[in-house]
Point group: C2
Chain length 430, copies 2
Amino acid sequence: MKPVRIGLLGCGTVGGGVVQLLHENARYLASRVGAELSIARVLVRAPERERVPQLSRALLTTDPELLFNDSSIDLFVEVIGGVDPARAYVERALDQGRSVVTANKMLLALHGPALVDRAIARGADLAFEGSVGGGIPIVRTLREALASDWVVSLRGIINGTCNYILSRMSLEGSTFEAALAEAQELGYAEAEPSLDVDGHDAAHKLVVLAMLAFGARVSIGSVPVEGIRRIQPIDHQFAARFGFAIKHLAIGRDHGGAVELRVHPALVRRESVLANVSGVLNAIALEGRALGPCLLSGRGAGDLPTAVSVVADIVDVARARLHGTAGLDTRAIQLQARPVQPLEDLVCRSYLRFPVRDRPGVLARIAGALGECGVSIEQMVQQGSSSSETPVQIVLLTHAARERDVTRALLLLRDADFAVQPALRIRVDE
Amino acid sequence: MKPVRIGLLGCGTVGGGVVQLLHENARYLASRVGAELSIARVLVRAPERERVPQLSRALLTTDPELLFNDSSIDLFVEVIGGVDPARAYVERALDQGRSVVTANKMLLALHGPALVDRAIARGADLAFEGSVGGGIPIVRTLREALASDWVVSLRGIINGTCNYILSRMSLEGSTFEAALAEAQELGYAEAEPSLDVDGHDAAHKLVVLAMLAFGARVSIGSVPVEGIRRIQPIDHQFAARFGFAIKHLAIGRDHGGAVELRVHPALVRRESVLANVSGVLNAIALEGRALGPCLLSGRGAGDLPTAVSVVADIVDVARARLHGTAGLDTRAIQLQARPVQPLEDLVCRSYLRFPVRDRPGVLARIAGALGECGVSIEQMVQQGSSSSETPVQIVLLTHAARERDVTRALLLLRDADFAVQPALRIRVDE
């Protein structure tokens, strides 16, 4: 049978991994697909840059027209990342009725539902296993393995940078800044880290997961997002003392009408599986109505893990094309616009840390303000100070309370004369 | 399009779950498959028994000929379990060129490769996601997600009964007997529990995993198997003291020529993810050459979780049949006869517990025998005895040592005058 020809859009780390895997596993992949997989042409910005040795330089071009005007190309693989120009390329391929495999979480979070519609309208496939959780087969699991189940909720550690930084802080007592610098040195964090450490990358992935898990079409702007910049080593110490670890979580829950989606640091029970997912590992815990709990974990990023996911998608999409079933998998993604539940309605326990001036009555005033707002305290610890200049830390765990009540209490206390900084608040996830 | 007609062989707990899920998700499943899924007939032994309410009693029969002679049946689902008569039915269906979905690990462990050959010869599919790990999509992951990767090793907690018993022993200090009785009461263990607690069920599943992960055709008899009957509460206490938990593991590793396959209790680091997989949960940790580490966890048994896996297979097999691609997935299972590496060559640390009579010099003699065999001791603890009648427990951790040397040392010590019982030996998995 004649080979399936692939147009590769971008050839950075993930693209290089894809080239490598296609080359090394050519025979087995051909047996899976029923035809050889061949790279027809590779669109790059800098053709002079060094590439993986398995890539023939003759395939490189900077001219997108050479790919889109080549009707012998059967499918496109987009590994450029970001919205522009990736979006225009993906749209153009789909409009030509050609299937697209992408690992681009930002593009999907911002324009996923529209791209899915576009693919369905033209009978093409849009596959995106590589966009969430690197090599973890989470998209496949949501799409295929749970075909007969309803996902009730999901909780995930889906940003490796945050997880690495929090793990180092917890294990080594490092500050956020030191752990971030270390992550940057090791290539686990970008020079400009805000997309990761402020939680936006996790929010992008959560929106993709919500599409598959809940069939939800949501606006990324409506997802509450918090990062990890304000967490200090002392928070890890207190969390441990209370029996918890601090993890950066993406949480989703199907409430029928609205969906609950949120991204923030959280205290999770020390002995839970998620608490023990360390370093750059990612993990996603699902709860299926029939399946019960299910957890998938692995390397959330990196060239090869993500490439493994991209190649698995290429196999599916190529097979569908060969067998005349292109578009069937994508048609099964049934999306419906869903409101995101307002965070104020959330009920959970909270960890609160108040950096205060050490003076009599502070503890009582904090307890008083919380009580006034209907937030009751489960336990409270005051960390002594060695000098009168360094602030004292008052740390407490509340009983389950409504988000809006906690927020109100923190507002009351923010401008108190004893407050050195606004309180840090971390939700407890249980 | 005309419906895909299913012949259901057996209708116990898993079969009932399949009927229920097919009924509840009929519309969505039809959209995934491209045609309705309909149960044509159900083979049972006791038609008078109560069944799930979604099942029309008119479909029940005790006569297999009514199914095998009905050429309108497109595919068979075997959820009888055990080798006879399941094997004959599966063979007959495959010989008729009809695809089979099965959840039968014992059948697959004993006759899997022959059944795969049979399916390939007749262009049918043999799908078996439900045979390992209940609802955990491990077969799909090995088959599809890792299409471009090589699985180097796998370690799994794949028997829920053992994991439940060990978790209770560790958490509550229960004896094996008490924890087993509790598991039986809750329906987590059979009245005749030896298939589970002696490790055979885990060995069956490991052989199925080895087929997919390593393409290995091995004889079940060549897999070393140990159960958990000899473990006592005190072993959990010592393991915890050394920083470990005791888990019943199935371990596989591809050594190129031979494969390493073994099933036994093991000490795993307290803070590792596997150590924190508790109760009836199962988990399988893979190491892919490109993917790196990957873990899947969830309910390993039960009617609905396993039924979710069976239905996912039904969707695949039905789609393949509709689109003329039946047999393609099964042809991708490339099996080769592989020897199982002899256990004597294994090198690992060991936990050893010697129940001995408290008399001077015992510790020296144990240390001496181990030293003589080249096994060096990392740490040693002696648990005092309150009376001269109860034996003293000498517990130690060895450095990494060769299996055959440890075995030789234990043989030397077995008949020593101070020995009350043979030593208990648990391998350390790290």
